[in-house]
């Protein structure tokens, strides 16, 4: 195929911004555009990428910096057509990562505790690295279904 010079290689981006809700749209659009331009993601998969970025950054906005204004760094890498997205903060960290990842776990009444569930459902892998006082780093990987053959819409065998 012509026109995709980075599909079979290595491309990356990093975005650092204040961890505020008004930056969510920018974070989603940036990573989605990066992923769509460099790999064979379907429209639905690009929507899923927007959701997982939104969930990761929303977690930082809501939980990482209870008292001070902090920042969030979103890194994305496309290596041989597979996307890795990392959302990192330098905030207070998560005490019990295993509990936080449970569906319906929430520390706030107006929330559903579905952030990590969506991140798990819409990616092929999710790693949460966190310790109290040492920030949190969430890493997600996603391969286009067209490349893995796992796609729901892939034509019959």
């Amino acid at each position: 195929m012509q026109g995709c010079t980075v599909c079979e290689s290595d491309n990356w981006m990093t975005l650092t911004m204040p961890a505020v809700a008004d930056n969510l749209g920018l974070a989603r659009v940036t990573v989605a555009a990066f992923a769509a331009a460099g790999a064979d993601f379907t429209l639905e998969e690009v929507e899923e990428i927007k959701v997982v970025v939104s969930e990761g950054v929303s977690n930082v906005v809501l939980h990482a910096y209870p008292e001070v204004q902090g920042q969030v760094t979103i890194s994305a890498r496309l290596l041989d057509g597979v996307l890795t997205v990392t959302v990192a903060d330098e905030g207070r960290g998560i005490e019990d990562v295993q509990s936080a990842r449970q569906a319906s776990y929430t520390t706030r009444k107006d929330r559903m505790g579905l952030g990590f569930s969506f991140m798990e459902s819409f990616t092929d892998g999710l790693v949460v690295d966190s310790a109290p006082g040492e920030g949190t780093e969430v890493t997600m990987t996603k391969a286009p279904s067209a490349a893995t053959g796992n796609g729901k819409e892939s034509p019959g065998d």
Binding site: A21, D22, L24, G25, L26, V51, S58, D110, L114, S121
Partner: protein, 139 residues
């Protein structure tokens, strides 16, 4: 293309086209009898939840309120913050016997609502017109 047109485009603010200047949703709301129709246009995320919550709570102050229809037709994106706001207001209104329903979600929004199991709590209709009037409504 004439230079005048080009110049106009070049000098128009483009941020509204990209992410709506950070504020990702527009909330329009109106009365329909004893029903409040809350129409959202844009992206329903954490930055939009406040506007939505304030709008619903303002209607809740009015004693004639029997039903809230959240019109999602213009919503191109929703995540767990949007879902949390919907379920939060649903529960709040339920305590006062006021029903909250969802109308016209896009295909993608419908999938997210289904995945989250929201349809087990909140009734979802294909359009605002399809929503039955509230049972004891007078309007």
């Amino acid at each position: 293309m004439g230079t005048a047109v080009k110049k106009t485009l070049l000098h128009s603010p483009i941020k509204a086209l990209v992410v709506n200047g950070g504020h990702t949703v527009k909330v329009d709301a109106y009365w329909k009898g004893s029903t409040a129709v809350v129409k959202l246009v844009g992206e329903f995320d954490l930055s939009a939840a406040d506007d939505f919550n304030k709008t619903v709570r303002a209607f809740r102050q009015d004693s004639r309120l029997r039903q809230v229809i959240v019109d999602l037709q213009g919503v191109s994106f929703i995540d767990s913050s949007g879902l949390g706001a919907l379920l939060g207001r649903f529960r709040e209104l339920q305590q006062e016997d006021i029903e909250l329903v969802i109308a016209a979600p896009s295909h993608w929004a419908g999938e997210i609502l289904g995945l989250a199991g929201i349809d087990r709590f909140i009734n979802i209709y294909p359009s605002v017109e399809d929503v039955p009037e509230p049972e004891d409504g007078e309007g």
